[in-house]
């Protein structure tokens, strides 16, 4: 699903922020990216998502070398093949729950399929409030809608950036359960960047990034 080789990333003219010799993630498998704050976890996620480009080396996602295609194609690839869940589970506040999913279909250039969107919300247990605006939903419901949005275009890869870091133990467990059951149900690989040790027990495989140091795959 993901193959990273001889990856090096630095901001313009700066020192290397991230180096990674070789990392491979098989389809339908999961990995935790861990390490101290500032070690480049989020950067790695953004590189895999094609939001950043490596300074050197290659990242191949689902058979596609992200450096080999244009920015436009990268945006399209991300929209269709990669789902992203952010720390705040941020929903677009001016759109209803269902519209947050429909806009994801539309932006990815896929046909707007309301039935599919409702089915996805249903699989996450929030199909009763599809026309509610984000501020009308509980935090838990917002998280479910955000995960549904990340999965609505049937990506094979889901990236989650610190999904549990601001949550209490109970909510943390709920979100972890939710993510894992969703990816199992939809046959998706999951990469979670986190410094939250509470979910280590659920995703055994770890990619540990030390601060500013070269590293081999775990």
């Amino acid at each position: 699903m993901i193959r990273i080789e001889q990856l090096r990333f630095a901001y313009d003219g700066g020192p290397d922020v991230l180096r990674l010799g070789l990392f491979v993630l098989e389809p339908q498998s999961n990995v935790l990216v861990v390490g101290p704050s500032g070690c480049g976890k989020t950067t790695l996620l953004h590189l895999i998502a094609g939001l950043l480009l490596p300074s050197s080396g290659s990242i191949v996602v689902d058979g596609q070398d992200l450096s080999a295609i244009s920015a436009r194609e990268r945006d399209r690839f991300r929209g269709r093949h990669i789902g992203i869940v952010l720390q705040q589970f941020h929903l677009l506040p001016t759109l209803t729950a269902i519209q947050n999913l429909l806009v994801a279909q539309s932006i990815a250039g896929l046909p707007v399929d309301r039935a599919a969107a409702i089915a996805m919300l249903s699989s996450l247990g929030v199909d009763e409030r599809v026309d509610a605006y984000p501020h009308e939903l509980s935090v838990g419901q917002q998280q479910r809608v955000a995960i549904a949005r990340a999965l609505v275009n049937r990506p094979k890869l889901l990236l989650a950036d610190e999904p549990t870091s601001n949550l209490d133990d109970e909510a943390c467990a709920a979100v972890a359960d939710l993510l894992l059951s969703a990816i199992r149900q939809h046959g998706v690989s999951l990469v979670v960047a986190t410094h939250d040790s509470r979910i280590k027990s659920r995703i055994p495989r770890e990619l540990a990034l030390p601060r500013h140091a070269p590293l081999e795959a775990a």
């Binding site: 950067t43 998502a49 920015a71 941020h90 506040p93 001016t94 994801a104």
Partner: protein, 400 residues
């Protein structure tokens, strides 16, 4: 869920700001549109009235006054000219037709014009009822006069001297209405038409002594001559000839109307410039709103990018917001322009002045959306570009 719907959702989410920007755009477009509509309508109305008249000849004085009197009947005459001079001029081979107008009296604010049936033909006037005069003291009413005064066939009335109501009344000379014209959309609608002899009769009294009549006939006058050229070449020599060789004055309607418009045009330019200032204010307000939106929505924009939105799509979203406002403001502005024109039309109708059709829409008005779209597009340009160039990775990392 298209970009358009997305843009609209953001506008709906802050209704007051949206309303303010739409109102500002509408005021700008409305002001400019008002000037356009009124200018157009007055211009059309004046050119309808002046159509077919190549030259106006009257007593010496202000050329514009002569035109205002002779064609538009908006001013008092500069004086009269001897009938003999008029008859002399009519013999000139460069002239095809001369229509004499004798203007002295009015009825309830409408001028009574002594003339001949050619004057009705000039404006393609048709009788709605009755017939054209066949004797003195018979009157044909323009449609507006008939409607406003309530006079009908057989009604009798007297004129008063000058235009002001309540002026000296010619109480012993009673006109009777013999015909009423259909509306023509020209000055004809606002006139009372009689034959020239009627005007003489009213002012001379009933003279029966043939000797006295002969003396009086020598001194008879008319007010204005409407001249149609026999050949375009007449324009070169005839006005100059009249102005230099006779004690009459010749004025070209086309030239004087254009001059008049240039004079009014200064006022129109001021109003139009004011509209421009309002539009610029609208653009500034819109710019500020979108610039704020950039900061407020930085994270939304980043999320859209993670969903696969191209930078161009993000720019387009902000641009669409501005353009939606521009269209709404533009359409509201057009409505406002016609509303303002309607108020002016109502006021001018009360003054028996040039009629304005405030609700006549022309395709040309759609051009008024251009300044609105332009203002909005310019306002959105920089915010759109900045949104497109935003560093998504950094935005996402900041919150994380």
């Amino acid at each position: 869920m298209t970009l358009l719907q997305l843009a609209w959702s953001y506008l709906r989410a802050r209704p007051l700001g949206t309303l303010l920007n739409v109102i500002l755009l509408a005021l700008g477009v409305g002001t400019i549109g008002f000037v356009l509509i009124v200018n157009d309508q007055i211009g059309e109305s004046l050119s309808r009235d002046a159509k077919g008249i190549d030259l106006v000849v009257g007593a010496k004085g202000s050329a514009i006054q002569l035109i205002l009197t002779g064609i538009f009947h908006l001013d008092v005459p500069t004086g009269n000219i001897p009938l003999k001079s008029a008859q002399e001029l009519a013999k000139n081979p460069l002239i095809r037709r001369v229509i004499p107008l004798s203007i002295a009296d009015s009825f309830r604010g409408f001028w009574i014009i002594g003339t001949n049936p050619d004057y009705i033909d000039l404006y393609h006037g048709e009788l709605a009822t009755g017939h054209v005069w066949n004797d003195r003291m018979q009157a044909v009413l323009g449609s507006t006069v008939a409607a406003r005064t309530g006079l009908g066939l057989g009604s009798r009335f007297v004129g008063s001297h000058g235009l002001a109501e309540g002026g000296p009344v010619h109480g012993d000379s009673v006109y009777s209405v013999v015909g009423i014209l259909k509306p023509t959309g020209t000055v004809l609608d606002r006139l009372v038409l009689v034959n020239t002899e009627s005007v003489w009769y009213v002012h001379e009294g009933n003279v029966t002594d043939p000797e006295e009549l002969k003396v009086i006939a020598e001194d008879r006058q008319v007010t204005v001559l409407l001249v149609q050229y026999a050949t375009p070449l007449a324009a070169v020599s005839l006005p100059r000839k009249i102005n230099s060789e006779t004690n009459m004055q010749a004025a070209s309607p086309a030239y004087e109307t254009a001059r008049l418009f240039r004079m009014i045009g200064v006022g129109a330019d001021v109003i139009r410039a004011f509209g421009g200032v309002v539009l610029a204010t609208a653009a500034l307000s819109l710019f500020i709103a979108l610039y704020h939106a950039l900061n407020e929505r930085a994270y939304d924009i980043a999320v859209l990018r993670t969903l696969g939105a191209r930078p161009a799509a993000i720019a387009m979203m902000l641009m669409l917001e501005a353009l939606i406002l521009a269209v709404l403001g533009g359409v509201m502005g057009l409505g406002l322009a016609h509303g303002l024109a309607a108020v002016l039309a109502w006021w001018m109708a009360k003054q028996e002045s040039v009629p304005i059709d405030a609700w006549a829409f022309s395709v040309k008005e759609l051009w008024l959306l251009v300044p609105s779209l332009l203002a909005a597009g310019l306002a959105a340009l920089l915010p759109s570009l900045r949104a497109a160039q935003a560093n998504i990775s950094a935005t996402l990392a900041r919150r994380a």
